[in-house]
């Protein structure tokens, strides 16, 4: 064993020692961060940050502390990512959404009206069940591909093209990439996956429009595949097998909430009556509101002004009545308050 090895062993020992001293602090930092990440700006974030730090203090074992801290942090990170993916930036204060516990058995909220984009592809007697955009990850993937090609193209240009043209060509590549990305965003924005009681549809494309469908009755086999990232961000790819050899909708990539979509589809296939019943019995369907009495703001404003007028007249009458009931104040010490209040009320209109 030579000198270097001894020095290394000593150094390693010191590092391990330092690290085990460092790890409780690291764990406390992690849990504080996780509380902020998990609960956002709510009051609960501060509470949790402090009590989790106390929890780390209570937990025996320096490296165990660190492990617990990492667990809290990763759970908070997962919650945050999921929230980001579902476009719900802040945790909601107040009563808890209980779907944290029973997400598997819950359904996406039912949409009732197809958007204008989709409505023109539906025939009159079919019942619309919902439409979805692809998950934003779809967009992210195509951005990565575009950026990759742009970088590759620029690199090839710089290597191969005469120096006096390089600037212009690189600029053209970048402009082209940005335009293509914009086209992809527009395409993502306009593209829909539609379920009706008769068929599945997908409408896509900005310039070229592709409307493809597969009848529900012809779907003989269905599965969805989620990558690990897909499970974290809650998207998946559907594969449909149909009776025909070449069907247009064989693979539908990057759909959001795949399990709920799956349940929707399966229910639509096996129990269409149940879906209808659920739609009919839905307590807060927007249709009810739309069919109900519409109010216009002007009428409400007039009504409120009328009511305020009536109320102030009644208040004035009440004030005079109280004044009449009271003995007349001789010195102004006994009942000036009611009198002055009444006077104020009466002078106001």
């Amino acid at each position: 064993m030579n000198g270097i090895e001894i020095a290394l062993a000593l150094l390693l020992g010191l590092v391990v020692n330092e690290f085990s001293d460092l790890s409780p602090w690291l764990a406390r930092t992690l849990v504080a961060w996780s509380a902020r990440l998990r609960y956002g700006d709510t009051a609960r974030a501060d509470i949790r940050a402090e009590e989790l730090a106390a929890l780390i203090n209570d937990r025996p074992g320096k490296l165990f502390k660190l492990a617990t801290g990492i667990r809290f942090a990763s759970a908070a990170l997962a919650v945050r990512l999921r929230r980001l993916a579902s476009n719900q930036p802040q945790p909601v204060e107040g009563p808890a959404p209980d779907d944290l516990l029973s997400s598997a058995r819950r359904f996406l909220p039912m949409e009732f009206r197809p958007s204008l984009l989709v409505e023109r592809y539906l025939f009159p007697s079919e019942r619309f069940r919902g439409e979805w955009r692809r998950h934003p990850i779809h967009l992210a993937k195509s951005f990565v591909v575009i950026a990759g090609y742009a970088v590759l193209g620029s690199w090839a240009t710089i290597r191969r093209i005469k120096p006096q043209y390089v600037d212009r060509i690189v600029a053209a590549i970048i402009i082209g990439a940005v335009l293509l990305a914009a086209l992809r965003v527009l395409g993502w924005y306009l593209g829909r996956f539609v379920i009706t009681n008769k068929r599945l549809m997908s409408t896509e494309g900005v310039f070229f429009r592709r409307v493809s469908m597969i009848p529900l009755l012809r779907v003989t086999d269905m599965r969805y595949v989620q990558s690990p990232l897909g499970r974290l961000l809650n998207y998946g790819t559907f594969r449909l097998e149909s009776a025909s050899r070449r069907n247009a909708l064989r693979k539908i990539v990057d759909l959001p909430n795949p399990n709920q979509l799956y349940l929707r589809l399966v229910e639509e296939m096996y129990e269409p009556a149940a879906v209808d019943a659920r739609l009919a019995g839905a307590p807060e369907s927007p249709l009810d509101h739309e069919d109900g009495p519409r109010f216009d703001p002007a009428a409400v404003q007039r009504e409120i002004i009328d009511q305020i007028g009536t109320l102030s007249a009644q208040l004035a009458a009440l004030a005079t009545a109280v004044q009449r009931l009271d003995p007349a104040p001789e010195s102004g010490h006994e009942a000036p308050t009611v009198g002055s209040a009444a006077a104020q009320v009466r002078t106001r209109p």
């Binding site: 009590e51 929890l55 209570d58 617990t68 944290l100 516990l101």
Partner: protein, 116 residues
């Protein structure tokens, strides 16, 4: 007060807190974690939901001024919460279907209940 739907971690936490209510003690985060043997995030998710449902309340540990460390937070049931929790725990757990076991399929098994 809507009863939160119970996950198994939450079931354990509720049972533990109910025990503590009967023993007239209060529990803090690490004690709960240690007793129910669940991961911290699972325990705190349950605590969040229970708190939101109004079943439990938390109170800070009172520290002497000289001690400079983060305070613990103690949890106990509210009066309404303990009723709801008792109802919830008393409800019979859904009986699991009898577990099917693969049986050997050849004729060498001794028949314990021969049909005569």
């Amino acid at each position: 007060m809507a009863a939160p739907l119970m996950s198994s971690a939450m079931f354990d936490v509720v049972a533990l807190l109910l025990q503590a209510w009967e023993d007239k003690t209060e529990l803090h985060g690490w004690l709960i974690m240690k007793s129910v043997r669940r991961s911290g995030p699972a325990v705190y998710r349950a605590l969040d939901l229970l708190e939101d449902a109004g079943w439990i309340t938390g109170s800070w540990e009172v520290l002497p001024v000289s001690r400079n460390r983060p305070r613990r937070r103690f949890y106990r049931f509210t009066a309404a919460g303990v009723e709801a929790a008792r109802v919830q725990l008393a409800a019979p757990a859904p009986a699991l279907p009898p577990r099917m076991r693969p049986q050997p399929g050849f004729g060498l098994v001794v028949d314990l209940h021969p049909a005569h």
